[in-house]
């Protein structure tokens, strides 16, 4: 496929107004599926967590998972929605081999939650209000594996294999209203919004919320219109966007791609597009067509979901603090400046830092490691920090080793790299590699005296008050000790020696 031409981003924004819309699918962490008692665990052996219901066998009937409904209500309340007093399930009819019944049991015109809104902060500090249109319950599809031809791709595959373990896993789809006015920040806003939703569902403990595992998935709608135009432009829906970074990149890419087409007199085709993480591009999927006539109708095998006011209020009372309140609380507790805290939030480091502090590290140490070495590594790998091979407990252990003077920062970075490399916990790595700093004053003194012998004037300078002269000796000692010395202690010893 020919690479699409893109308009320069600034130019695109000068000419067009960006309108985005986001659909986020959240996979619930219930024990069982949405409509049957099969385990909600699709990593198992294929087709072992299946039954007549989720395999869509003739005669089987669905029964709604109570906990999934409660989770949906909690999510709805947490994003400011009203809860429908009488919601219903509907069948969305289309044929696809991963869809066991060839209809998806979903909700159509009577979703469980509707008309909400959240406030989302982007890296610049700007806060945007995002209106939520609805949140509804539905079921996930099975998993297709394409075999032969271009391996793993649909096109050219010789055949496909279907595993229905994931079929029927409960999903909540949260749909925003069109979002206007974010301009150049639209891509950041899209990512910040998804991060916000992730924080919400994680705090509610209704989802594992791991994007890399597909627990939270985002479809991003993008359209452009000339500034001042009233009519919305034709939108595209980019699917398969499974990390915060990708959301930002995909929206940005679509803005540039559409701007180029529109500016050259072309028209945007309403279609779904697929995001390719490796190339950083989107490609056309199926155009919207008559085949999208889903023939929704109320699911006759299920009865209305009509939560009582009492249940709704009970669930509302059980909600944890909302993300804004939590941020405020954590910033105060940690004593971070506004700028420090915003960087932490934007880098998605609030959760790991909170966990690291809980594991015993100081907030500043936790921040230093997560937003330093670890974030750098994540960035280099194009991954989310949660995907790296390092836990909050390990970072806390590392911080404690530094705090206790067993290793210094430089060794710390080396240890951290080893941790991420899967070599073990920090303590183990330090012992195994003999990285502990030399804290034996006798050994340090010997090294200092050896260095002083080569630079005899240093002691004199220190006695004259030129303490910075110690630096040259410290450098020599550290080199001699292969870095495994506490530089502060070396400095103290040199000054002691000068005083003798």
């Amino acid at each position: 496929m020919a690479k699409a031409e893109l308009m320069n981003y600034e130019q695109a924004l000068e000419k067009f107004e960006v309108v985005i819309g986001l659909e986020v699918h959240v996979e619930l962490n219930t024990k069982t599926k949405m409509f049957c008692g099969c385990r909600n665990d699709f990593g198992d052996e294929p087709n072992t967590n299946v039954c007549p219901v989720c395999l869509g066998l003739p005669g089987a009937l669905p029964v709604v998972n109570k906990r999934a409904v409660e989770s949906a209500i909690k999510i709805g309340l947490a994003i400011g929605c009203d809860i429908a007093p009488n919601g219903r399930f509907a069948r969305k009819n289309y044929f696809y081999p991963d869809l066991a019944k060839n209809f998806q049991t979903s909700q159509f015109d009577e979703p469980i939650a509707f008309e909400g809104g959240v406030e989302v902060e982007v890296p610049s500090g700007q806060v945007y209000k995002i209106d939520i249109e609805r949140a509804h319950m539905e079921e996930d599809a099975g998993k297709l594996t394409h075999v032969g031809g271009n391996t793993g791709r649909i096109q050219g595959a010789e055949f496909s294999l279907v595993d229905y373990n994931r079929a029927g896993v409960p999903l909540i789809e949260i749909v925003t209203k069109p979002v206007y006015g974010a301009g150049a920040e639209a891509p950041e806003l899209a990512a910040a919004y998804v991060r916000y939703i992730r924080e919400v569902v994680k705090a509610l403990d209704v989802s594992e919320a791991r994007m890399e595992r597909g627990n939270v998935r985002c479809d991003a709608n993008v359209s452009l219109r000339l500034h001042g135009a009233e009519k919305l432009g034709t939108r595209t829906e980019t699917k398969n966007v499974n990390s915060l970074r990708s959301i930002e990149r995909a929206v940005r890419y679509e803005i540039q791609r559409q701007a180029h087409i529109l500016a050259n007199g072309g028209t945007i085709i309403q279609e779904t597009r697929h995001w390719h993480e490796d190339k950083g591009t989107t490609s056309a999927g199926r155009p919207k067509s008559d085949a999208d006539d889903y023939r929704y109708f109320p699911e006759p095998d299920l009865v209305p979901v009509a939560p009582s006011k009492e249940l709704i209020e009970e669930l509302r009372a059980s909600l944890p603090e909302d993300p804004a309140t939590r941020r405020k609380r954590l910033q105060e507790a940690w004593g971070f400046s506004d700028l420090e805290f915003r960087d932490v939030v934007n880098a998605g480091l609030m959760d790991p830092i909170e966990e690291t502090v809980a594991a015993g590290a100081s907030p500043q140490a936790a921040r230093k490691w997560w937003s330093g070495e670890i974030a750098r590594q994540a960035n280099a790998d194009g991954k989310d920090v949660s995907e790296l091979n390092v836990t909050a407990a390990q970072v806390a252990e590392l911080a404690a080793l530094v705090e206790a003077g067993k290793i210094n920062d430089r060794i710390g970075r080396e240890v951290l790299a080893a941790v991420m490399n899967g070599e073990g916990n920090p303590g183990e790595i330090v012992s195994a590699k003999g990285l502990e700093v030399v804290s034996d004053d006798g050994a340090l003194m010997a090294a200092i005296d050896e260095a002083l012998a080569k630079q005899p004037d240093v002691l004199e300078k220190i006695r004259e008050g030129k303490v910075q002269a110690a630096g040259a000796v410290i450098g020599a000692v550290m080199q001699a000790m292969k870095g495994q010395a506490d530089a502060g202690r070396v400095r103290e010893l040199i000054i002691e020696r000068a005083a003798q």
Binding site: L57, G59, A60, N93, F297, P300, D301
Partner: protein, 500 residues
Amino acid sequence: MNLVKLTAVEQLEGLRSGAFTSVELTQAHLDRIASVDGVVHAFLHVNASGALATAAEVDRKRAAGETLPALAGLPIAVKDNLTTIDEPTTAGSKILEGWVPPYDSTVVSKLRAEMMPILGKTNLDEFAMGSTTQFSAYGPTSNPWSLDRIPGGSGGGSAAAVGAYMAPLAIGSDTGGSIRYPAAMTGTVGTKPTYGAVSRYGLIALGSSLDQIGPVARNVQDAALLHDVIAGHDERDSTSLPEDLGSMVAAASNGSLAGVKVGVIKELSGSGFQAGISARFQESLELLKAAGAEIVEVSCPSFQYAIAAYYLILPAEASSNLAKFDSVRFGMRVTPEGNPTIERVMAATREAGFGPEVKRRIILGTYALSSGYYDDYYGSAQKVRTLIQRDFDAAFAKADVLVSPTAPTTAFKLGEKIEDPLAMYLNDIATIPANLAGIPGLSLPNGLADEDGLPSSIQLLAPARADQRLYSVGAVLEKAHENVWGKRMIDFAPEVKAGA
């Protein structure tokens, strides 16, 4: 003694008294099947070994003095749209030829728990779409009264099996009259319980909001026995009624018409109904009156829309229910020439696997649900449903039960009307309103029509959950008939000529 000619009640007495064993009784029915089913073709599959094994187990337990369920040892036939783990389940369709489900329907589980030997699976119009059993992919069933005539449908197999003494009892399913209409054609008794009274789990769905499983028998008391076994709440069916509707056996035993108001539905009489049927109907009204009932006339003006509404709702639901027959997980697979995609395999399989009536209804249902047509067709039909319920509410305010002929004509010849769906759909004119409103109905033999000597029938209808009224009124009328005729109506039936 010809065991098969005994009623179910008599057969149970014989089993209990030791006059004969369950193996003897079951073998007598298997022999009867071997002798006459070659010409009747009521069964699609006979499970002699399974039935005899259950019978032997019952005999062993009885000999050992163990406690047995009430109907233990009494053979039964099951319509082939209920799943059975040990026999093929085809729903009368080529697309399911040879499919052995990995699970039992709830009703079949109840029959097994009751230790009833299951003789086999009975013929039906493909997916229960039809009123003649001619649309079975495995050939039509004949009416035991006249082998060149239809036995009614869709459950012609169950009705003919019971009518021709191949089984004392059978399970049917009724979506628009599929239990009651065949009962009317074959001089047997059939009940459609209140929607939700019997679990639909494992019933291959046709119209989910209309389908209901019920008993097929040769008299009211026998039907009540089976009704009590299969009714009851099931956690696997979300539309299953939570409450117990009482004992039908008790209702049939304590029948009385003193002070009972019987409503005659004005719209279901007169023109359009065969003269001989109307004559017998009027005579029965006199018998009811003589037994103490008060006869009142009720009007249900919306019934004129019932067939049109039904033939939108049913195909709409069916089009979605039958989408799962796609060759992927079970059933037939047709792979066209070349290197076809899954889409092509699905379409070719459904073309080859579905018969013309099924395709016609799927396409009609797809139309009724299409965007732009939904409100006019499916939406309007659902509103008509409300009007029909209101008509019933008004009628039941004036009467305890309602009556009408079950069918407008006696059994017609096989092959008649087969290319005229609209004429065919009129067969169910009197039975469809009960399905649309969810209320119970029972069809009772009502004497032979003068012009052709074939069975006519009367339908009793009761308010939702008042299924007992059908049995108490039905038992009294049945007794009155026997007093007039000197024997049961089925005893007028000619002997089926084996190998004719």
